[in-house]
């Protein structure tokens, strides 16, 4: 969801206006995803690197996340949206941490669509945490060090909160940047990458259809040979 600040700057607006517009776009994309049968949607809301942004912007974003979760809880329950939050929640304000736990707990039985929100997230930190969890399992006698494989790492990743869909099929990055920026580094091995120049607040149904059509046209082999 990249490009909120640049979208606002292009219109002579403060970056907060861009983030609010970005939220409206997110709402629309979740709605479309549910309508089109997409079962899991992971969104990159705030990276661990974003903490270095100006304090005013960071405080605004934390308040925005809190307001969005409070206002949308009813909708999550009505629409059957299961919410999962990944990232280092210990860095979030205490009120937001509490709200996150409440939302995750209340929506855990929903089945229509899974929405994973990455807040204070780092792909490298996620891999590090997975290694740490595995070390604990070895220490507790549940696993031998020589038996550690990549599938053990995969099981310990935070995105395993939705075990049915561990790896995304399609990754869309907006605003013209052509990189992952520390997002889902492990999970994206076979993920189709779609980069668009559109800023996130302007990303609409037509852009989404273009990304999905592009995905459908690709010959994905997952490393296998196609006969």
């Amino acid at each position: 969801m990249d490009g909120n600040s640049r979208w606002a700057k292009a219109r002579g607006l403060p970056s907060s206006a861009g983030h609010e517009a970005g939220y409206r776009t997110l709402k629309k994309m979740v709605e479309l995803s549910g309508q089109w049968g997409i079962r899991a949607l992971t969104v990159f809301a705030f990276s661990s690197e974003n903490w270095t942004r100006p304090k005013m912007e960071v405080d605004f974003l934390m308040t925005l996340f809190e307001n969005v979760l409070k206002e949308s809880l009813g909708e999550f329950l009505r629409e059957g949206i299961r919410v999962c939050i990944i990232g280092d929640s210990s860095e979030l304000p205490p009120s937001l941490q509490k709200l996150v736990k409440e939302v995750v707990d209340k929506t855990k039985n929903n089945t229509q669509i899974d929405v994973i929100v990455a807040i204070s997230y780092s792909g490298r930190k996620e891999i590090t945490q997975a290694c740490q969890n595995i070390a604990r399992k070895v220490k507790d006698g549940l696993l031998e060090p020589e038996d550690i494989t990549e599938s053990h790492i995969t099981e310990e990743l935070e995105t395993n909160c939705i075990p049915e869909f561990p790896n995304p099929d399609l990754l869309i990055r907006t605003s013209g940047e052509l990189r992952l920026s520390n997002f889902l580094l492990w999970q994206s091995a076979y993920t189709e990458l779609f980069f668009t120049n559109t800023y996130w607040p302007d990303f609409g149904e037509a852009d989404y259809i273009e990304a999905l059509t592009s995905f459908q046209n690709r010959q994905r082999r997952f490393g296998q040979r196609i006969n």
Binding site: I127, A135, K139, P145, Y190, R221
Partner: protein
């Protein structure tokens, strides 16, 4: 007049309720055809434009593409679909082109290790071990480092990616237990990103983080390139290896040189 003997043509108009939907279908069908035509023309125009641009770049007619500013490009990665990686002629041609552009460090990757089996042998015979190791990376950190003209080449596969992290996890645990062996109450493992980076180095799975990654193959994905090294890498899908063009590589390098990263700030 014998009405029974005459052939009479009678036009029976369709009932009105069927006429409107049929006309609507025809109109919609025509609109759909028109839309397809417009999209096809747009794609054709784009292809012609790309071909023309490639020709102009190849002829060196565009000054901005002649002197590429590659100061920010310390390391370039090339991911090749394993099926396409068997085309060693194309791989060698690609390496020649990259060397001619002035690339100093290339990481060649394919999932199944085809490049390790094919290109490696050729590069081993070319590598001059007396050459000063490339300053981009500590040569001791990398197990498959070769030199081709003025370019250092690292060849890796999936074994150096996800499997490498698994080995690093095992190494981390062993190191933690070694440090902890004297303590009566064993502490919980508490690893940092630096610990993982050092573990990858110790197990031979570390390496330079490429600034730019070119993907050759049918799918636009990095096919398991070492996740730890991909944090801020620009990723560009170049199409099939058999269709690769020098001009497209030059244009990609030029576009990269204009990029600005703010690293999340």
């Amino acid at each position: 007049m014998d009405l029974a003997r005459e052939n009479t043509w009678v036009w029976i108009p369709l009932p009105q309720k069927f006429q409107a939907p049929m006309i609507l279908k025809l109109i919609l069908g025509f609109c759909w055809y028109l839309l397809h035509l417009m999209v096809n023309l747009r794609h054709m125009g784009s292809s012609v434009n790309d071909l023309l641009f490639s020709y102009i770049i190849s002829m060196g007619l565009l000054l901005k593409h002649q002197n590429l500013q590659l100061d920010e490009l310390n390391s370039l990665a090339v991911v090749v679909d394993s099926e396409e990686a068997k085309n060693t002629t194309k791989i060698k041609q690609l390496l020649c082109w990259l060397s001619s552009i002035g690339i100093k460090y290339v990481i060649l990757y394919d999932m199944q290790g085809v490049l390790k089996q094919t290109i490696r042998t050729d590069l081993e015979s070319l590598t001059n071990t007396s050459m000063t190791p490339c300053s981009v990376v500590d040569a001791k950190m990398v197990t498959s480092l070769f030199h081709f003209e003025k370019m250092a080449i690292e060849i890796i596969s999936l074994a150096d990616g996800k499997e490498g992290v698994a080995k690093a996890a095992s190494f981390l645990y062993s190191e933690h237990m070694k440090d902890d062996s004297e303590i009566c109450y064993r502490s919980e493992p508490d690893f940092t990103e630096s610990d993982v980076a050092n573990a990858l180095k110790a197990t031979g799975s570390a390496g330079a983080e490429p600034d730019l990654l070119l993907v050759y193959g049918p799918a636009r994905c990095h096919l398991g390139f070492p996740a730890w090294r991909l944090r801020y890498t620009e990723i560009v899908h170049m199409g099939r290896l058999r269709s690769m063009k020098f001009a497209v590589i030059v244009k990609t390098m030029h576009d990269f040189s204009k990029k600005h990263q703010n690293y999340g700030k």
